[in-house]
Symmetry: C2
């Protein structure tokens, strides 16, 4: 079950392996936005995204309990891929990763660099869950799901524990915590930590335009599905519907969801580059974009923004920082 005890255990497992990422803030950036913005740069996390937290937690937990006999398998657009591959490598476990063939080049090459076997699929005509489950059965591998998995959610929750400790040190009493949201693993994990230790901090999910399934689901109260196949640069967080496990947690803990357009995301990447000297990928900058461009929807003056990843091809990053 996803709960605070599992998160505390995840933190124990992650000690010395998962980074405690800092919280960054910048007077000038606050003037531009008109809010006090506190950036949690998970792009600095091992493998360049928060995903390492969940992957590490799941694999170290399962290994300890002897539940991995013959390696692991995962499906992912690229960040969970790198995280599972790297965590497996450190644990001396082999990994097979199912990735879309149009995933960013950097994500593919990094995943291969962690000695994973990569199986490509066509994201418009094939179902990755099916491919992953088939491989798990065929090769007797343990499947590490990207978000709808208690151990993975617990790992992402360690980011929430850090947010609470760090922002309380900074004197924040009330705050909104803006989190980039695909399947909802990071949002759900963080929200569980807030629910327990910082009930006055409120979580807001942030999604790319046309992929606002969580925002619509939070509004309707049931899991809505994106019908679009509209392409998006936010490859990291394009999921069809909120998770079965993650959604009830978010329904209990999250305020109204926020949405950002591609132009807003590119502008946010540029501002994060200019003011914080961090590299964010489009899907990782959605919460920052929402903080900047939907600030009239924010209810608090102190806003914590999770920049969830930074694995971006140089052409896309150069475009973001040069234009606008």
């Amino acid at each position: 079950m996803s709960n605070i005890n599992l998160i505390l255990k995840a933190r124990e497992h992650g000690k010395n392996f998962i980074y405690e990422t800092p919280i960054l803030f910048n007077k000038k950036f606050n003037e531009i936005v008109g809010k006090n913005i506190f950036i949690k740069p998970e792009c600095l996390q091992v493998t360049g995204s928060f995903k390492f937290r969940g992957a590490w937690c799941a694999i170290s937990h399962l290994k300890k309990e002897n539940k991995i006999s013959n390696g692991v398998v995962a499906y992912s657009s690229g960040n969970h891929a790198q995280a599972v591959a790297s965590a497996s490598q450190t644990h001396g476990i082999s990994s097979v990763i199912v990735m879309p063939k149009d995933a960013p080049k950097q994500k593919i090459s990094n995943t291969l660099g962690y000695n994973a076997e990569v199986v490509f699929y066509d994201r418009y005509n094939e179902i990755r869950e099916q491919i992953g489950e088939n491989i798990a059965i065929e090769k007797n591998l343990t499947l590490i799901k990207p978000y709808d998995e208690h151990l993975v959610i617990a790992g992402q929750g360690t980011c929430g524990l850090e947010i609470i400790e760090q922002s309380k040190k900074l004197g924040l009493e009330k705050a909104e915590v803006l989190v980039c949201c695909g399947g909802g693993g990071l949002s759900a994990g963080i929200s569980l930590a807030l629910e327990k230790y910082a009930p006055y901090y409120k979580l807001r999910t942030c999604e790319p335009e046309f992929y606002d399934d969580t925002a619509r689901s939070l509004k309707s109260g049931k899991r809505e599905i994106n019908e679009t196949t509209y392409p998006s640069i936010c490859d990291a967080i394009l999921t069809p519907t909120p998770g079965e496990i993650t959604f009830p947690i978010l329904k209990r803990n999250a305020r109204e969801g926020l949405v950002a357009s591609e132009t807003e995301v590119l502008q946010a990447m540029k501002l994060l580059y200019e003011h914080f000297k961090i590299v964010s990928e489009p899907g990782g900058a959605v919460a920052a974009a929402a903080a900047i461009f939907s600030k009239n929807k924010l209810k608090e003056k102190d806003i914590i923004v999770v920049v969830s990843g930074g694995n971006v091809d140089s052409e896309v990053f150069s475009k973001a920082i040069s234009e606008n």
Copy 2:
């Protein structure tokens, strides 16, 4: 006098204002380099470089002692400029900054953004020290020198205190600490902290090709002068000779200096982007370049690399991450 007590006092003054930047490391990057590399990303520091440490320390110290009657003046290629402007603004003090007219656009616009008055000069035909001193007398302003100033060196030394605490937590017993070096303020400050608390950590200055005055001075034992006017992308650390105050400290504490070429610096910026998701400027990536490309000159297996700044125009950064 530059000594450890002044550094400890600087830390007190900087509390809640100067960031404790993290230490980042990455298994894959270590495989590429063939050493254990620990990155201290001072590009994440307030105003995008370590310079904020020294500027904050000097201004808060002088203000406390009522030694600033009518504002401050500084000369700088851009990082000390932003740091002095920002620290002054927070202290409610006005600032005049003397900058080369060909400084990076981002550095100029940021300095103006902190409400500084900027005075431009021609770096090939005018002497900035003279302009700064004249303005100080004319307008009755307190001059904050960029490196040859005890309070500034003490502020930069706070970076050394963090390096020692953080790397000891990581279990490092012996290490070489590679620091980008212009006038030597950061190197001297860090070396004073190492001398006191970590005598087995050895400092190495890192300079751009053709601007290796410190390396040559360490070899000859006296302050050598660069005769070149060869242009360099490493604008942040182009100084004619080591400081009068900084050099004796470095002579006592530093091992043989390292040098990196422009091509190596650009490649280092790309690797820092890919593996650590941080934005470095050319002058800020010189130590990383030396760690990667002069590794046969390194004597230890654990190498701490200070990435000293990240204020870089987007055209230069795009070039660095796209090419090579």
